[in-house]
């Protein structure tokens, strides 16, 4: 039974957690993977926002590719969005993201490692689609699992590269707002509900270093696996800092 549960955990947890976390800069946490795997994923995101200067909504499609081998994993993603802000509708790409990580200690149910995400300013900063600067985001993560319960956590740092421009319109960009320099954190917990079904919750956020706005996001999610397809759905709420009012993320990935 214990072995079956572990097998289920490996199949269900790792890719699904990776997908569900991609809006936290691609962090891949969860049960340690063995061998190599490749996955192609697609996320659908929809959100409403209401900041001091802007109100509106956005919807996006975010395709991603992920490759992992033993203790290493690499993921890349680039979203395209429809943004409606203060009555103006526009379309465009967000910032491209590449994420790499290495598990340093532990195996199986308890492990920890380091990660590095880099984003390129492919999104139109003036319209609120992107940061306007490359971003470098190193982080440390940890995972603990026991029986049907698992807990993940991470702390990181984000910094804009090149220039000292400021975000003149408060929370910015409107899609995936970040500060020019910040400390990030995330904590999540999941429980296995059935053979192929998991549910959990997450809190994540950031505190600026220097000028900026702190933000906190809370979410609840459900994840399920059918064959080689992993799917997750998460509802998120902006708790502090106006990153958004409400956001829904539906993610699915096919493992090869």
């Amino acid at each position: 039974m214990s072995s079956m549960l572990k097998l289920v955990a490996i199949i269900v947890m790792a890719p699904a957690v990776a997908m569900a976390e991609h809006h936290h800069h691609g962090m891949v946490t969860g049960e340690a993977e063995q061998g190599s795997s490749f996955a192609a994923g697609l996320s659908l995101v929809a959100a409403q926002f209401d900041t001091m200067e802007y109100g509106g909504e956005y919807q996006g499609l975010v395709p991603s590719l992920r490759w992992s081998h033993d203790r290493f994993a690499v993921m890349a993603s680039l979203g395209v969005y429809r943004l409606q802000k203060n009555g103006l509708e526009l379309y465009g790409a967000g910032d491209a993201m590449v994420h790499g990580q290495a598990r340093l200690v532990g195996d199986g149910h308890v492990n920890a490692g380091l990660a590095l995400a880099v984003s390129a300013p492919t999104g139109d900063n003036l319209q609120g689609l992107g940061m306007g600067h490359p971003m470098v985001m190193p982080a440390a993560y940890g995972h603990w699992g026991q029986g049907m319960v698992s807990v993940d956590g991470s702390v990181g740092y984000g910094r804009a590269i090149g220039g000292e421009s400021h975000h003149a319109h408060g929370v910015w960009p409107l899609i995936e707002p970040m500060n020019m320099q910040e400390v990030t954190f995330a904590a999540s917990g999941d429980v296995v509900l059935a053979k192929q079904l998991r549910a959990g919750g997450r809190v994540s956020g950031a505190m600026p270093i220097g000028d900026g706005i702190s933000r906190v996001i809370g979410g609840v999610r459900v994840l399920w696996t059918e064959g080689r397809v992993d799917t997750a759905f998460e509802i998120q709420a902006g708790i502090a800092g106006d990153p958004f009012t409400l956001r829904g993320v539906l993610e699915t990935a096919l493992r090869f």
Binding site: E53, Y54, N86, L88, L90, A168
Partner: protein, 139 residues
């Protein structure tokens, strides 16, 4: 000689903080470009169809709140933003605003080309933004 150079330097300087386009107000301020003889008409022609406090968020064509140019107070609150979006000076000639397309009616579809200031008007805008903050106001 050193005192003369220093005096000329001081007299030649305008506001302490340069504008985004690095336009400097002549010293003394000649007050040739003012809200009454330039700014009000400029805003009415090129900006108020979106940057007006009378417009709700849904009818602002993307213009942020608190960037309303119906009066001088609203303009001076975000003077540097105006310069870096539409002014022209030694460091930059900014054509981010007005955008290419505008609604024919507030909140309507982007049915018409936005009227565009000339380069000379953008230079006057930058000069006005460099001078106006340091002028005395009754508010």
């Amino acid at each position: 000689m050193k005192l003369l150079v220093l005096a000329l330097f001081v007299l030649g300087c305008g506001r302490d903080t340069p504008t985004p386009t690095e336009t400097q107000c002549p010293s003394p301020d000649p007050e040739t470009v003012t809200y009454e003889n330039f700014g009000m008409q400029f805003m009415e022609t090129y900006c108020l169809q979106c940057h007006s406090e009378t417009l709700p968020r849904s009818q602002r064509n993307g213009a942020p709140l608190f960037h309303d140019f119906d009066d001088l107070i609203g303009i001076l609150q975000v003077g540097n933003h105006i310069d870096e979006q539409a002014g022209s000076g030694p460091a930059a000639s900014n054509h981010f605003m007005p955008p290419e397309r505008c609604p024919a009616e507030p909140g309507g579809p982007l049915a018409i080309d936005c009227p565009q200031p000339t380069e000379a008007e953008r230079q006057k805008l930058a000069e006005w933004m460099a001078c106006e903050p340091d002028r005395p106001h009754s508010f």
